[in-house]
Structure formats: structure tokens, C-alpha cells
């Protein structure tokens, strides 16, 4: 069985790709091109996304039109900065590959790397 999160991702993916407000019907029709899914399921999950604060909605005639609150890139940047420890209120939950460094430290890194590649050439 597919998880709820997968359907959430499918819905967000379509709204980000289309880059315009869309109805649940449009989303269902698009997903149905690849696999069958019930209208009510998509409606429920879209509503969950709305209550979680991922989507905005506005009434258009009788149907709700949904749009992502922020672009995929904006969310990704916020997540990356959180993961890399650049946001202020980050518990030590995530481990970044390297931490922030200043100019001097980067210069020292570059020097260390250059020394080694020179030595490697001399050996060859």
C-alpha cells in the first residue's frame, strides 16, 4: 500500500510543476493517467496539505483552487539552511558534512590540498 506521504508528494509535485492554481479534479485526472486513485482520497489529502500550511486555497465558482504557499526552491533553501545549521533554533539533530568556515580557514584548506597534489605530482 502506498503511504499517505507519497500521495502528498505527488500532489505538491504537480502543483509546483504547473506553477498555477489548480482544482482537485485536475490533480486527480493527472494522477489517473498513471494509476487509479479516488477523487475523495485526493481531496482529503489536499485538505491535509492545506491544514498543514503547505497550500493556499481560494474559491473559484463552486470549486476550490489550490496553490503552494512557497515555491519548491524556497522550501528547499529553508530546509537546506536548517539542515546545515544556519538557522538559529536548530537542535543538534542533523549532522552536516562540513560546517561553516571563514575566509582564512578556507585559504588554509586550499593550501593543504594544493601541497598534497604537488607532492603527488613529484612522486609520479
Amino acid at each position: 500500500m502506498r503511504r499517505l506521504g507519497d500521495l502528498e508528494a505527488e500532489i505538491m509535485d504537480r502543483l509546483w510543476t504547473w506553477n498555477r492554481p489548480a482544482t482537485v479534479r485536475e490533480i486527480v485526472d493527472d494522477i489517473n493517467k498513471t494509476r487509479p486513485v479516488a477523487y475523495t482520497t485526493v481531496m482529503t489529502v489536499t485538505n491535509i496539505l492545506y491544514t498543514k500550511g503547505w497550500l493556499l486555497r481560494g474559491k473559484h465558482g463552486r470549486a476550490w483552487l489550490y496553490t503552494p504557499v512557497r515555491s519548491r526552491e524556497a522550501y528547499a533553501a529553508a530546509l537546506m539552511e536548517d539542515g546545515l545549521g544556519e538557522s538559529k533554533d536548530r537542535p543538534a539533530a542533523l549532522v552536516a558534512f562540513v560546517e561553516n568556515m571563514d575566509e582564512e580557514e578556507i585559504a588554509a584548506l586550499r593550501k593543504a590540498l594544493r601541497n598534497v597534489s604537488r607532492q603527488a605530482k613529484e612522486v609520479q
Binding site: G5, A92, V95, E99, M101, L113
Partner: protein, 303 residues
């Protein structure tokens, strides 16, 4: 005989002198896993010694109390309570060590739960925003700086920016992913949480501060070593440099950048595992250190 002075002395040595000694040693960076074990053994030893010190300080309080009341009594003064209350001293003798134990356990649980909640929230968002790459076994986020981090736990994720995928060679990318995989497989977040816990309870002790800093650095070295098993030194070092250089300065304070330099020099430098004899004796010492305070408290000779 009361062991309080000996225990207090031992606690001070472990808390204040031992970290200085360990920081000056050369072998920890050559055997990072062993060194991390030694830091944790010292932390356990310190906690037990502190609890036993509190216990032995509370026990003579009873004798002192009895002596004081007895003295007043012979002087003709009748103190209201008459009999000294041995219960108070007993309660103190059990209560203070118990409080230290409870504080450590509760703080560890708090750290683990809080971190898990933050990671779960983060993971759900990453799953929505990112695209999972079955080929890389990682989630790729659109972000214009090469960067990577991992979300350890029961449902782990490695998160990597699309800039890293584009700009790093497959070999470099592989070394980064292997490094993050090592953090996840080694459950490094729990080791880090233990160091964090010890620091939050004994904040003013140098051992706590150094143990936390060194544990973080040593865990990175362990992950580096794991990546080096299947990838070249140049690939890992270059990937490290590329990512560190791309992330400079964002206005924020650059803290702990020194550790990347230490790691890079270590990855590139000559690598020599410590002599087996040294390794063995350090490992034996690490195993024995948590038991030492018990030996100090009840010297077998004085049984």
C-alpha cells in the same frame, strides 16, 4: 574510614586534568573510535565518582550531627529534637546520587526525543520537497550550493543539494554519500546525544565541554575513515574543500571551521594506526576507568 577526600580528588582529576591530558595526546586522531570511547568512559567515571562523593559527604554528616548534639547535651543544653535524626542524613546520602542519575537519564531522554521530533518534521518536509534518487540512495533538493547532511534515526535520509550532484565528480559524490551513510549506520546521533547530555548536566566541568566538542570531531573522523575504505583520499578531500569553500561566509559566525581543516589534513596526511600495544592498553584503561571510583570508594585492602 571515610573516602570522601579521595573521591573528591579523583573526581577533580577526571573532570579537570584528564581532558587536558587527552587533548595533548597524539593517538586520538589516529584511533578516533577508541578515543570517543575513552571520552565517554571518562564521562561515566566522572558521573559515578561525583555521585559517590556526594554519598560519602552525606554519611559523615550523621556522625557530625550526633557528635554535635551529644556535645551540646553534655554542656547541659537540651536540644529540641533530642535524638539526632539519622533519616535526614540517609535520605541525603541516597537522594543526591539518585538525583545525579535521574538528571542524566532524564536529560538523555529529553535530548533524544527533542532531536527525533525535529528530524521527523524535517524528514517529512524533505520528502515532499525533494526528489528521491534510487541511484544515489539520497534525497536531492534544489539548492545552488554543494552541500550534504544526514537525518539519522529509524527512517534515515541523506539529503544532498542538486548543485553537489552537478559539480562533484561521481567519485567525490560517492565519498560524501559514504561518509553520511557511516553516520547513519553507526548511530552517531546517539553518541552525540550522550555527550550533549553529560554537558547539559555538568556544564561547568571542562571534561563535559571537551567531551562534547571532541566527540563531534571524532565521529566525523570515523565517518571519514569509513568513506576512505572504498574511495580515494583525493576524492574525499576535494569534496570536503568544495563544500566548505562554497558555503563561506553567510554573515553568520563561523564556528568550528577549524575541525574541517583538521579532518582534511588527516585525510591527506600519512595514515598510521597506533601500535597494537598502545591500542590494547588504552582500550583496557577505557574499560577500567568507569570502575575506578568504586575502587577508590571501597579500597579492597581496607575491606
Amino acid at each position: 574510614m571515610n573516602a570522601a577526600p579521595a573521591l573528591a580528588g579523583y573526581t577533580a582529576v577526571v573532570g579537570f586534568a584528564a581532558p587536558r591530558l587527552l587533548l595533548r595526546a597524539a593517538w586520538p586522531h589516529r584511533a578516533p573510535a577508541l578515543a570517543a570511547a575513552v571520552w565517554h568512559a571518562l564521562a561515566v567515571s566522572f558521573s559515578i565518582a561525583a555521585a559517590l562523593t556526594a554519598y560519602s559527604l552525606a554519611v559523615p554528616a550523621e556522625h557530625l550531627h550526633a557528635g554535635l548534639v551529644g556535645l551540646l547535651h553534655t554542656c547541659g543544653l537540651n536540644v529540641g529534637t533530642g535524638q539526632p535524626d539519622p533519616d535526614t542524613a540517609d535520605r541525603l546520602a541516597v537522594g543526591v546520587p539518585a538525583a545525579i542519575g535521574i538528571a542524566l537519564v532524564a536529560s538523555f531522554a529529553f535530548h533524544v526525543v527533542r532531536a527525533r521530533r525535529a528530524r521527523t518534521q524535517h524528514r517529512e518536509a524533505v520528502d515532499l520537497v525533494g526528489r528521491h534518487s534510487a541511484h544515489l540512495c539520497a534525497t536531492v533538493l534544489p539548492y545552488d550550493t554543494p552541500a550534504a547532511y544526514c537525518l539519522p534515526g529509524r527512517r534515515p535520509r541523506i539529503v544532498i543539494s542538486d548543485a553537489a550532484v552537478r559539480r562533484l565528480t561521481p567519485e567525490q559524490l560517492g565519498s560524501v554519500l559514504e561518509h553520511e551513510q557511516a553516520h547513519i549506520a553507526g548511530r552517531h546521533h546517539l553518541v552525540l546525544a550522550a555527550a550533549e547530555t553529560f554537558h547539559s548536566v555538568f556544564r561547568w566541568v571542562p571534561l563535559a565541554r571537551h567531551a562534547r566538542e571532541q566527540t563531534a570531531l571524532l565521529l566525523e573522523m570515523i565517518a571519514d575513515d569509513r568513506a576512505l575504505r572504498s574511495h580515494s583520499h583525493e576524492a574525499l578531500a576535494t569534496a570536503m574543500y568544495e563544500m566548505a569553500a562554497a558555503r563561506t561566509p553567510k554573515g553568520a559566525l563561523a564556528a568550528g571551521g577549524q575541525s574541517v581543516l583538521i579532518r582534511l589534513n588527516r585525510v591527506l596526511g600519512p595514515r598510521k594506526a597506533p601500535h597494537p600495544a598502545l591500542w590494547g592498553s588504552v582500550a583496557a584503561a577505557a574499560a577500567a576507568v568507569p570502575l575506578l571510583p568504586l575502587l577508590v570508594a571501597c579500597p579492597p585492602g581496607l575491606g
